[in-house]
Structures are given as structure tokens and as C-alpha cells.
Subunit: 365 residues, 2 copies
């Protein structure tokens, strides 16, 4: 995959730089979204997305950011007053929980220190303590801390031991971190276009299991734009329920072609090796990493700064003086770390530029 | 404005063909949506959108199709069980009403024959009969029938006489049909990017009045992705609440530049004259038009076909043999008419091609 060399080195966790062909695909002529050509493209997109999700469940493409798909995971399976368990390991886990609360769902929160992953034993205890829980919300890859939770083990507890609905925020994992939707019995997996799918932001994707459809039948949550029942009906005639973001679908069409041509496995292997290299180079500067190696994300790395440094100043300096854009700490981690996104193949020179800039900036701050 | 000559003459009511510069703007490099450059662009977009809405109300850009903004008009002002009046003059008026019902709102429907516009006297009667109504839903330009409702007169009844919230579906009117949000006291106006804003689909826009904000404070509707309170908070720091569709915002940025450079008034005048010419040319073929001249839309024209002709066959023939894509009849009008979209300046040759193709196709069917 080729990338245009831009004036900025965009190293936030998302949107990620997209391959040149993906960017250019957006300029294809718009077509009738109720016509046959569109229907063929849509079917083809969904079939290939299933190969990314590794699922035979229904998969839908929503015209929204990843948050829209996360909301869809809740409004299509739950009703106001339903009790759920939200496992919070960082800013985005908290946001998923807050979203459920805004939707009048009765949320029990299970907290882990930001930077740690989910402890399976404690999760099991929580589920045993609250037998009335209907669903469990899990953030697969917590973008705010650079931690990937062990979804396979989590699933064994949530699904095999307790038989609860498993709703997964995969916004920053799908496509870049191993995620086996069917093997791990994930009922709903929600993600955005602008991370592992290497597509500009504005689309989200969601997989929906048979159990999720059974929950859908019981859900009394008011919904329309995110009602997956409407999506399913229209998919049956090769259409979307509402006017889709056609130019972004063109981009997704191209990115799926590129990812699957390279092979999902080799793409994910590349992400693993690349993350390892970046962690090792950052460590060689004497900087600490928030996540333990064991659960370190392959898509984003949270870098701790020396105690006397305000990380936000460092982020500003990297932008102003080195044209490198990295993410800031969020929530309780604000000012304490910077976050380097590395989804997609990052040219070695850019990694070297980033490390050199970090090294140089640290001496100036 | 220049348009690329495509292989198809896309004459559906939307998405509309976009100026070449707008299409190409989508390829600008992605930037950090939490950074300053993005903040400047967002502020600038909203300021210019206000000049299209002709409003000083808050205006927000949503990552969704127009339906998302319509849903936002409801979930931010109403609660389940609230009583409203939905005025239905066609397929999209019915859909707006159905959406409200799906959101558990208590909907009183006021129906007019499809192809007619709203009768002000009957509207007044309905409001007098149902004093417990909180809001009135109006489709400004009914895309399914090619009828523009007289929003100025409607507003005088809804706002001045009865003081109800006025929620307007302007998906196919904003930017192409005269719409004075403030002068006509429209509390909420919702539209999509892919029609009068000459931008690819995937964004929607919404204006929200002070009265709407007062209704927001009382709304208990479960919401998150469409919660305009979150949008307002983030606008305060030059951000969107959720990752925005950056490449589509680039396109909107360019289209607003083009529209405002030409001038909204002259753009709307052009639409009026163009619609008049198209109606006149279609009539010269001996075909009838669904809408009376008095309330005929300037963005879409519904053409009646001879009684012995199935309009859908004609639509297929135009596509297969003439590479012209027009819209079909919807709902109860299916098979009875075809719909020609004419938002944006349509090259005279394309209009002539369409008329010639229609003339030729009618002899073959």
C-alpha cells in the first residue's frame, strides 16, 4: 500500500493516514443508491467486511462515526431500565458506559486502573454478584491507555460461564488487532472506518449475532436511525435504509481490496511487529510505557513522560516544531502521557522521525 | 461551477452531481479533528451554513444522512408520549411521522392528497382541535411529489397563532428552495449534504432555536449520538462531539465557498428558472405534471406517465438505453410517475438529452 507524503506526520490513534488509492477512490462518480450497481457494491462490501470481522453474523454499514455503531449496539439489544455491566479500563470504556446511562440503561460499572487490562477473576466475581445483568460492555482495545483486553478469555467467562450478551467496542481494534467475532462469540462488535479499516472517518460497521437478534425482538428502546431491523430489511433488497455516504463507501471498497489482497493475518502480524518496534524505540529514549507488554495494544502506544514534564506541552512542541501530530492524554491521564497511533504500515523513516523528534523535544522542554 | 461529464446523467432527487472542485476536495489530507486547524474549519463551516439557513440560531453538522438530522429534531425536543401533529403530503412526510411513532411519540397525522400542498385552513382547524399538541412536523419540499409547501404561511399559523414548536424537514429544500429560518420562525430545520448543499451524502445539518433549546431541557428521550447538548458543548471548544467525516467536511467547505461566491439568492433564482424550463419542456411532450405550478418544487419534478404506461418500465428504459437515471414513484405513487431531480445548475445539453430520451422512450414502451 502506498501513502502520499503529507506535510504533517499524522500519528494520532485515528483518523489514520489512508492509502493514496483509498483517498482517491472518494472521487468516483456518485451513483443512485437505490440502483443495481449500488446494490452489488453494498453486497460485496458486506461480504468482505465479514472476512475482517471473521463472522457469519449479519454485518451492517452505518452512516455515522464509531460512536453511532456503539449506540446501535445498545439501542438494538436493550431497553430502558435493563441492567448491564460496563467494564471500564479507560476513557473510552467510561464513555461507552456513559452512553448506556444516557440511554436510561441501569449500568453497573466495573473499574480497573487506567493502563491495566481486565482481570478475568474480578470480572467473573462481578457477574456472579449481579445475576440480573443482561449484557456486558467491553472495550477491546482501549485507545486512551494503549491496552488490548484479552477478549478470548473475557468471552469464555461472559458467554460460556454466564451466557450474557457480549457487546464489544472494537473501534480501534477491528482490522489491526486480532479479533475473532465468531470464535469468541461476540454478539455485537462495533467499529469505525477511520482506524483499522484505513478509510476516512464517517462510516461505522457493526456485526450482530443471532442472540443479538433475539434481544432485539425484546428491546423497547426508542430508535429509528440506528434501528438495525430497518437495515436488515433494506439489505434484503440490496439497499441501505437511508441515503449512504457513497464516496466513503468507495473508499472502504478500495481499502478492503487492499487489506484482503495483503491478507488480514499478515496485516495483523505486521501491526504486531510494528508496535513492538515502536515500543522498543521509545523505551530506548528512557521513556516509560503505560501498558505492560503482555496487554500492549498493536494500534496505539501510550508513552509516559518524565515527572517534571507536562505531556501536553510536549504534544504542542512536536506539532509546532516537528510537524508531528500525536494524541494527548485523556480524562484522568490528561497531561500525563502522549499517545502514538500506528495503524497501517508506518514508513520506517516516519517512525525514525518521530523518535528523533521526541528525543530532541525532550531536551528542549 | 464546473461539473465533470460522467458516463451517466444522474437526475435523481439526490444525491445530486457535485461540482468537480467539491468532489476533489475530498482528497485533501486528513487532519487531527481535535486540533486547531480543524477547529477553524468547523467554525467557518458553521458560520457559512448560517448564511444558507438564514439564521442566527445554533447550527450543527452531524455525521449522518438527512434522516439522522430528522431524528435529532425529534429526540432533542420531545419525550415519549408527547403529542405532536405530523402533516403528511407524501412519502417523506409519512416517513417523518413514522419516525416519530418509532420514537414512542404520540402522533396525530394530518393528511393531504399526495401531489397537493398543505391547506392552511385545514392545518389551523387541526391545531384548534388538538390544543395538547406540542410540535408540528412539516416537510418543506416533498421529494416524492415535487411539491413545495408554503412554509411562510404555515409558520404564521403554527407559530404566530398557536405558538407550537415548528420542526421542518428541509432535506430537499435547503440551499435550492427559498427557506428563511429566522423570518419564518422555524425552530428546527434539518437537511442533508447531498441535495442543495451540492456535497456528497454522509453529512446532515440542523438549526436549533432558543425555543428548541427550552424544549430540549424538558426532553426525556433517551439519546446520545444525536444529543445536540453534546454538540453544543464541543462546539464551544471548536470540536465535534464525535469523530467527524473530515473528507466530507472538506467537500462541504468547498461547496459553501462556491454557493456563497455565486450568492444564495442568485442560486435560488437559477433553480426557479431551471425548474420552470424543465416543466415547460416536459409539458411540451404532452406529459402531465403532478404538482400545480403554484406549489411546484424547484428541486424535483414529478412527471405523470400516460395511463397505459408503467412508469417503472420507463425509468428502466431511460437507464438501460439512454444512461439517464431518474427517480421512481414512491409508496402509493409507485409505477405512476417518474421524478426528475434538478438541484444545481444542469447543463442545457443534459436537459435536452433528458427530454429527447423521454420523448423517444415513450414511443418504444
Amino acid at each position: 500500500m502506498k501513502y502520499r507524503r503529507e506535510h504533517q506526520n499524522l500519528r494520532i490513534p485515528g483518523p489514520v493516514p489512508c492509502p493514496t488509492e483509498v483517498i482517491d477512490a472518494q472521487t468516483r462518480p456518485l451513483i443512485d443508491h437505490r440502483g443495481q450497481d449500488f446494490g452489488h457494491m453494498l453486497k460485496n462490501l458486506v461480504e468482505r467486511l465479514k472476512r475482517i470481522f471473521l463472522t457469519e453474523n449479519d454485518v451492517f454499514i452505518l452512516t455515522s462515526s464509531g460512536t453511532g455503531a456503539l449506540e446501535a449496539s445498545l439501542v438494538n439489544t436493550l431497553s430502558p431500565g435493563d441492567k448491564i455491566l460496563a467494564v471500564v479500563t479507560g476513557f473510552f470504556g467510561q464513555r461507552y458506559s456513559d452512553m448506556a446511562k444516557a440511554l436510561l440503561i441501569d449500568v453497573e460499572e466495573l473499574h480497573f486502573e487506567w493502563g491495566r487490562d481486565i482481570d478475568i477473576g474480578i470480572l467473573r466475581e462481578a457477574l456472579a454478584t449481579h445475576p440480573d445483568i443482561k449484557a456486558v460492555l467491553v472495550t477491546h482495545n482501549e485507545t486512551s491507555t494503549g491496552v488490548t483486553n484479552d477478549l478470548a478469555s473475557i468471552s469464555r467467562v461472559v458467554k460460556k460461564e454466564f451466557g450474557k450478551l457480549l457487546l464489544v467496542d472494537a473501534v480501534s481494534s477491528l482490522g489491526s488487532v486480532e479479533l475473532k467475532t465468531d470464535d469468541w462469540e461476540c454478539d455485537v462488535v462495533a467499529a469505525g472506518s477511520q482506524k483499522g479499516l484505513l478509510t476516512p472517518p464517517g462510516l461505522s460497521v457493526i456485526s450482530f449475532s443471532e442472540s443479538a437478534w433475539r434481544a432485539y425482538e425484546k428491546s423497547s428502546m426508542p430508535k429509528y436511525y440506528n434501528d438495525l431491523g430497518l437495515f436488515r430489511t433494506f439489505m434484503g433488497i440490496g439497499q441501505t435504509a437511508f441515503t449512504p455516504a457513497i464516496s466513503l463507501l468507495y473508499a472502504l471498497d478500495k481499502s478492503l481490496e487492499l487489506i484482503l489482497r495483503e491478507g488480514l493475518d499478515s496485516f495483523i502480524d505486521m501491526q504486531r511487529e510494528q508496535a513492538f518496534m515502536i515500543r522498543s524505540k521509545v523505551r530506548s529514549l528512557g521513556l516509560g510505557l503505560l501498558a505492560e507488554d503482555r496487554c500492549a495494544s498493536h494500534s496505539v502506544t501510550a508513552v509516559k513522560v518524565p515527572e517534571n514534564v507536562n505531556a501536553d506541552d510536549l504534544v504542542d512542541l512536536l506539532l509546532d516544531e516537528y510537524s508531528i501530530v500525536v494524541g494527548r492524554g485523556q480524562g484522568s491521564l490528561k497531561g500525563k502521557l502522549l499517545r502514538v497511533g500506528h495503524i497501517g504500515k508506518v514508513p520506517e523513516q516516519e517512525i525514525q522521525d518521530l523518535v528523533s523528534a521526541l528525543s530532541s523535544a525532550l531536551t528542549r522542554i
